[in-house]
Symmetry: D2
Subunit: 350 residues, 4 copies
């Protein structure tokens, strides 16, 4: 970040979780960064290869406790810590550091909404106001100037990318949006929980946190801004047997005389030239496997048989565009690097 350095020196706080590992996977191919700090409390003192054998061959710093972190070695930190614990950590960071926070702690800007959904007052309300909510394509300029970027949630990224242009242009009834989302299991992290066991997840699907998932207010915050008035959505997440991927099937009603093709056109033109967001031809819908391992977002629009309605399907990899990939994308923007650096590897299929 400084003219004197050849590389951005990067720290990853919480490197022993899946989003941490994914940051390392992506940054391993980044020509302009160097990882100088990895923290992981339970694994402190261990090489990363003991926690993630697939990365053992990389030359990386040993994991340290977060309280032992030497931030003088870093220009920027990615914060991949659990929700709730992050705000105080970030508030205590030296201010020379730029920060991309992958937790939910700085995503909601309204203090009351935060308190309502997280059960306590925010512990760093000043930073909460300063933080830039970083769906890169929707906030590029603000991200470029930000010191603290709140990296968006996986579901909210998949939901907002298609919906924001439509709500802004009043092409749909923003008061009647149904979002039925399906997620892979890595979204639940690497914590050992009964509900994430192979035997509990394979060969099945279920809805969870129905009408009470914390990504709902995050989506609503974005749509409220787009609409210029308060918007609520019906958001229903499902857990299904795949490691990566989110498919978001959104049911909308047309407004202002728009046709389904107008919706597709609004999305396509909004993301014209974007390297990571693509509208499919009208009537086609994406599959999560077509974005697996990549930073791409695919969006399809189909006219419903019922006049005046459309179905919008968006697909991302929750660990890439839904987390670590977008975080690197935001870092690139913050550092004035080409935005696609380290993010051009194609999806992996099969």
């Amino acid at each position: 970040m400084t003219a004197s350095s050849n590389h951005i020196r990067v720290g990853i706080l919480g490197a022993s979780g899946y989003t941490g590992a994914e940051l390392i996977r992506l940054l391993a191919q980044h020509p302009s960064t160097r990882i100088t700090l990895l923290t992981g409390d339970r694994a402190a003192g261990k090489p990363l290869g003991e926690v993630f054998p697939h990365l053992a061959y990389l030359d990386l710093p040993v994991l340290t406790k977060i309280e032992d972190a030497d931030y003088s070695q870093c220009d920027l930190v990615f914060c991949a810590l659990p929700h709730g614990t992050t705000q105080e950590v970030i508030a205590a960071l030296p201010t020379h550091l730029k920060v991309v926070d992958l937790s939910a702690d700085f995503r909601l800007h309204d203090v009351d909404t935060y308190a309502e959904w997280y059960g306590h007052a925010h512990l760093a309300p000043d930073l909460q106001k300063e933080a830039v909510y970083g769906i890169t394509e929707l906030a590029r300029d603000a991200v470029a100037k930000a010191r603290l970027v709140a990296n968006p949630g996986c579901y909210p990224t998949a939901a907002q990318l298609p919906l924001v242009p439509l709500v802004e242009a009043d092409l749909i009834d923003a008061d009647d949006i149904v979002i039925d989302a399906k997620s892979g299991v890595s979204g639940a992290g690497r914590a050992a929980k009964e509900g994430s066991l192979f035997t509990e997840v394979t060969e099945g699907i279920h809805a969870y946190s129905v009408a009470k998932h914390r990504h709902a207010p995050e989506i609503e915050q974005g749509l409220t801004k787009a609409a210029g008035r308060p918007i609520l959505v019906n958001f229903t997440p499902h857990l299904m047997p795949m490691s990566r991927g989110i498919l978001s099937t959104t049911y909308v009603k047309l407004a202002g005389g728009a046709s389904p093709a107008d919706l597709r056109e609004a999305i396509a033109s909004r993301y014209q030239g974007e390297p990571f967001v693509r509208a499919l031809p009208m009537g086609q819908v994406p599959a999560t496997r077509h974005v697996r391992g990549s930073n791409h977002t695919l969006i399809g629009v189909v006219a419903d048989r019922i006049k005046g309605r459309a179905i919008i399907v968006s697909a991302i990899d929750n660990l890439v565009k839904g987390a670590s990939g977008q975080a690197v994308q935001n870092m690139n923007v913050m550092a004035g690097l080409p935005e696609t650096t380290a993010l051009m590897q194609p999806p992996m299929f099969p």
Copy 2:
């Protein structure tokens, strides 16, 4: 079916597909039936164990071509043949036979709707009128008297069981129903298709046949009858990596002053005493794995955060309640046997 026989002699036309195998799995535990005929054109002349090694140990007739079938050995046939080819086969059957047809051929009663969705005029319009559409719990009396039962589709079973009581009682707005359904791969049958390959399906999800799936008019037929006026629904199926199971997430708007709890209560009381349909406590939702391998339907109702809306989730095993299990259930009703015979094995989890 005659007083003189100890067992109902059963034939299965199309025994080399998954629904055929599932019929055999279930009937193997039925004390009052005997399988006397199995047809399977490509596998004619082979023992069933070559087609389905998991059933090789059962004492079963060799597969024959359908034109070689000796129907004098049967009292009832299950017809598990592909859509389109079935209607002529059934029209040509001896009339002493009772028939449970697992294809879609006799599910739609309106000749124009059939022609619209299947691309040709029905070839047995008289039988089309006679056939009883057999969601057992919703048509028990008619099934009991039927000679030909059209066994419902998997998606339509999962969708109609919760919706019919609500539409009948005007508790929801029948003109604003969104059904987001997720299915296992066995619904696509055993045909060797690229889209059903392990490598194409595992670790991913996608919507398909959006706004044009043939189960939409089947669902609409049931809801139209329930409402007493034409009903259209938004029905969007998804293919996901599991062999068995359908989860149907339905988004509804309350009508006539009903609360979400009223919806749950209407469903619970409609199916009070039913052995195979159960409403979960308010706010709970089912998982497909909780019905796997069984004939059960589980239904959950949750109030949305948006006032006046609710989410209904229903789960079945597409090969059991969504196909072969309901077929056996209908056979039991047609034959005057206890309806649960051969259908009481608990779900298999994990």
Copy 3:
């Protein structure tokens, strides 16, 4: 078990794990048993349906703490507790109870071998001597008379069923046996462990506990008895992404002039008439999916291209024949009931 009762009153100690749930699934169809006791320490006070929603519809006793168990209500208990804790529990049980123990605690008869592999002296050495090691087909008479049956491990069942007849008849070189076994994840139980997470297991395979798995001495105990001299085997287990199933691929060298076909014949004749063990035609090998959910064992023998060698493949469902199914089979034998009672449901495929 007493002439005066119509049903055997059964308790399940440790009903909140997978083998407990599987016992309940099977016993739900048993006409001669009644479940009168379920223990589950962490879930004490809850109905079973909270722990296993797929079984919520069954009429079952509430879970209790093991110290609150009223054994006067039981004739027989299945003990599905963790290894190590079981021996003291069983030692303290009232002696009117018959016991089928699914843990490893009573499987090894040699006190030194037990101490070597489990790291401590056995706490109930008298019971250790009394316990009957119950691969039903190989120990039927002893099981019939036993008060305490040590239900065999999943790997040892899959390995010994084909090998014991061959070693007894000196048809193979018992000093050169390689067993490469592949297991589903339910073998690791329902404990929340990082290594059992969906994300850690799906789409991959690895060997584990190489040359130090505790099932090795159990297999060796059986083969040592069969050979009449000490036998060691190379046993290498692998964890793979399936919930249920064990495939055991065993590499043997022929002895005493035997041909591969002689091996197959020895296995087939040994299990002639057995309802749950079947030798496939020469050259055919089984798949785990052909036994899924059932108590069957399938065994195939193939001649290697290298003269004097053969490959033997055996398949079981680890939760059924490898645990709860064999436990019920043993209970049936102990109680003088038809051995197949509650165990005749066909495999579930797909």
Copy 4:
């Protein structure tokens, strides 16, 4: 390949299969190649994105029929055609082309062995002699000079990398090698076959082609060369539910006084400095998920409990090091480029 061009112009014959897609995925990040030709008979005339939507965003030539290929636009072709059809295609190619053949057609050098295993005389015996068998690490110099490289099979790559150094150094008994291999489903290609359906593969495992798989003579050819005398192996492949990956568990007997640690040391020193082959610390074994999507080979050695024996486990991604990755590696060597170009992306986990 010529001084005048900035890029190697690459053609892919058979681009509509999985190895074709994987070549494109890797080459998309290769700075020194340009794809100028893609053939795919059934999909001729279509953009690649219709066959592989995950690659639709890349700027690539339209698929052509192989007979319409303009080879003047190519410096090198990858041949990813089915076995048997390839030899005549390659024999007819213009001789200015360098060729990396991913089929099995040129892997076996002995005409009789080829005829025995493939059922017909080789149709291009001169090329058969010329072709270099290209496990890169074992044949780097020959690959560098080759015009035609026979890219090794997936199983043979996983098997030979650990075994060749051990056989060469007489550290194991080359006459007593047992290779138990487990493969993902992509090894069967994208052809629509019943045996590759999701429903047939998920949640199960089975051995196939036992004692008759065509990769056996390929492995034996390599070990025969290493030993300097004819070697046969017991090779047993298994199909399991994962898209990518091969785990090869090899059982060996020590020779010449070697210890298991000597085996590990021989492997480690042989591949010292190799970017894509790594020996794990003694006693550790790899998982396929630790190489997924990468060109890495991981090898672990464990001492068996039986004196004089060891277990060797190797893991690769069958589509990368087992096919397209090694093909690109060979191309890099043939073209004098840095061998790791386009192959440095880390494994993808989870």
